[in-house]
Amino acid sequence: MSCTRRDLLGASAAVPLALATPALAQSGPIRIGMITTLSGPGAALGNDIRDGFNLVVKNAGGRLGGLPVEVVIADDALRPENGRAIAERMVRRERIQVLTGIVFSNVMLAVAPVVLPAATYISANAGPSQLAGEACHANYFNVAWQNDNLHEAVGQYVTQQGKRRAYLVAPNYPAGRDALTGFKRFFRGEVVAEQYTRLDQLDYAAELAAIRTAGPEAVYIFLPGGLGINFIKQYAAAGLRERVPLYGPGFSFDQDVFPAVGEDALGCFNSSQWALDLPVPANRQFVDTFEREYGRLPSLYASQGYDAALLIGSAIAATRGRVGDRAAFAAALKRADFQSVRGRFRFGNNNHPIQTIYMREVVKDEKGRIVNRTIGTAFEDHQDAYAAQCKLT
């Protein structure tokens, strides 16, 4: 069921012989494995990561770090066992040395034991706490965030805004509970209730009535994908949007969701390490070229795919294509010597970002589109809570 697609990028671009280094003697482009979610409810996320990544390759004429690359793309369909099977094929049979693209943490945790002993993995989304803490690995890098970061940021921001009573909603599964833990790590007020909902829940009327009765000063939701769309639509329909501000991580409030919720998302606040309007030259170029290429605005997922490609490119350039020399390649990655679309960016000891987390408000832009506008920062140089448990330096 795992449909495999190969985007042969730049295979036709002839490699001038003069440029071929000894390490490239086996010739052919450097192959990068992208395991991502392209079917099922999470497809829009994987789609954006892939498009962001491919945009960098395409802009450079099929190259990363000056050398031709081939991106081998496979769909995990949000199934850990699929991801694992694809990883085994890519790493053991096809001898691919650099992998990226996984969207969901449960897939990531299934794939990590297969990939990390034999290849380098650059995460463009999933950031489970294990891989940031005790199970951190010299061959594992995360260019997006540790899972808790965006939740922590909203907890911090809601506290900064002087809100004292918060009502929390998340699905009843590990990532949902982790999200609320992240929020509570920095929220200093009273948690009115932690409402855990079903992972397949459609109707939130019962929860919305409970929220209205409880009368909190802020509502925080972590409801990924369709769950968030259902909630946001129903929150607005119940007339709560005007009464209690709704907060969430950027996952529920970005360009993958806006076309589906429309004006119901206006006025909601969310956190992200990236924003459409960040005044960084690299970001302007990213947003412009993305919109021209795909005819839509990029989401934070697309920005992460784009940055993953830039990061890999920087390490390919620094090692002159010797991606198989894992120690040298990891050292080059760790320098993070690239112009991130989010501005300043560096890795901590555990190969996870130390970065600014912004707060954004959902507004209508001058063209009438629903977009995020940056309204402030929750954290500067923020590092995750697990870095101390990681033995890497």
Partner: protein
């Protein structure tokens, strides 16, 4: 919990129940008449929502979108009946499940090819955008009341169709005495195709009505299909009246368990543990209901030939 809030939550349960009824009615009608378990019913729901949302976006009219959604689902259902489903009547349920499961996969990928992987927009129609103070002091979304109205209208229409028309008579006769109806010169194949299309139209209506409240996205059908099957089993396989009873009961149990349990559990447990326990109990409430009904009344609440 005060009584007004409880009343509001009961109304919320009724809305969810009516939404489930629109789905369950078509599913159970098809099962009752043809004996086919159609897993792809959720796909017809999805197609109705996508087609309806597209037409609504183009024309600006929710009513036109609703007609288009129902028409699209009915046409797809008809095409499926003519090409595939009619070959399955004589085969056992496992074959039907397998074939219609394949249809789910095909439908999801086809919708993704046509509309892309991102969820699309369907807003609340202007006329039902506000809220009505049906319970004093509690503004209730008008659109949810519209859902209840639509569901009741659909139920009335089905009752009229089945109990009062010649077509309904044939449907009832075809259910129980298929061979005799055929011997009397009725084109039973055409009848079945028509019933399948009616079931499809109901699924399309359900998708369109759910659209303003739920995400219109690939795979939306499977999410509601599971609850729909619970409704059909609780109500009695093949019984439209059973679907109504089952849908309302499932809607009420699901909503009230989520509304009452968190408050009730907090009375006995510390807050940190209570939220988690309440969520776990709430998640199984509907399935517990199904298990109890199956144990006491295996034929369902309102069986087909009661």
């Amino acid at each position: 919990m005060d009584s007004l809030l409880l009343l509001e939550q009961a109304l919320n349960g009724l809305t969810l129940g009516v939404m489930l009824f629109l789905m369950a009615a078509g599913l159970t009608l098809i099962f009752g008449v043809m004996g086919v378990i159609n897993l792809a019913h959720g796909s017809l729901y999805m197609i109705g929502a996508f087609a309806g949302a597209t037409v609504t976006a183009r024309t600006g009219s929710f009513a036109l979108g609703m007609l288009a959604g129902m028409a699209a689902s009915a046409l797809v259902a008809l095409a499926l009946e003519l090409t595939l489903i009619r070959r399955l009547y004589a085969r056992d349920h496992l074959d039907q499940v397998l074939a219609t499961y394949a249809l789910i996969l095909i439908a999801n990928e086809s919708v993704k090819i046509v509309w892309g992987p991102q969820p699309i927009f369907l807003g609340t129609p202007e006329a039902f955008g506000g809220s009505v103070e049906i319970i004093p002091g509690v503004p209730y979304p008008a659109y949810r009341l519209a859902i209840i109205g639509t569901g009741l209208a659909a139920a009335a229409f089905l009752w009229w169709l089945i109990a009062r028309t010649r077509l309904g008579m044939l449907i009832r006769a075809g259910t129980t005495h298929r061979a005799i109806v055929q011997a009397l010169g009725v084109n039973i194949q055409a009848l079945f195709a028509l019933v399948f299309a009616i079931g499809g139209a109901l699924a399309g209506l359900a998708g369109m009505m759910a659209g303003p409240l739920l995400a219109v996205q690939v795979g939306m059908g499977e999410q509601i299909l599971i609850l729909t099957f619970v409704v059909v089993v609780v109500g009695g396989l093949g019984s439209v009246r059973g679907a109504m009873a089952g849908a309302v009961l499932v809607g009420l149990v699901d909503t009230l368990s989520r509304a009452v349990l968190p408050v009730a559990v907090r009375e006995v447990l510390p807050p940190s543990a209570a939220d988690q326990v309440a969520a776990n109990l709430g998640a199984v409430a509907v399935y517990l209901l199904m298990a109890v009904v199956l144990a006491i009344r295996p034929q369902g609440l309102v069986p087909r030939h009661a």
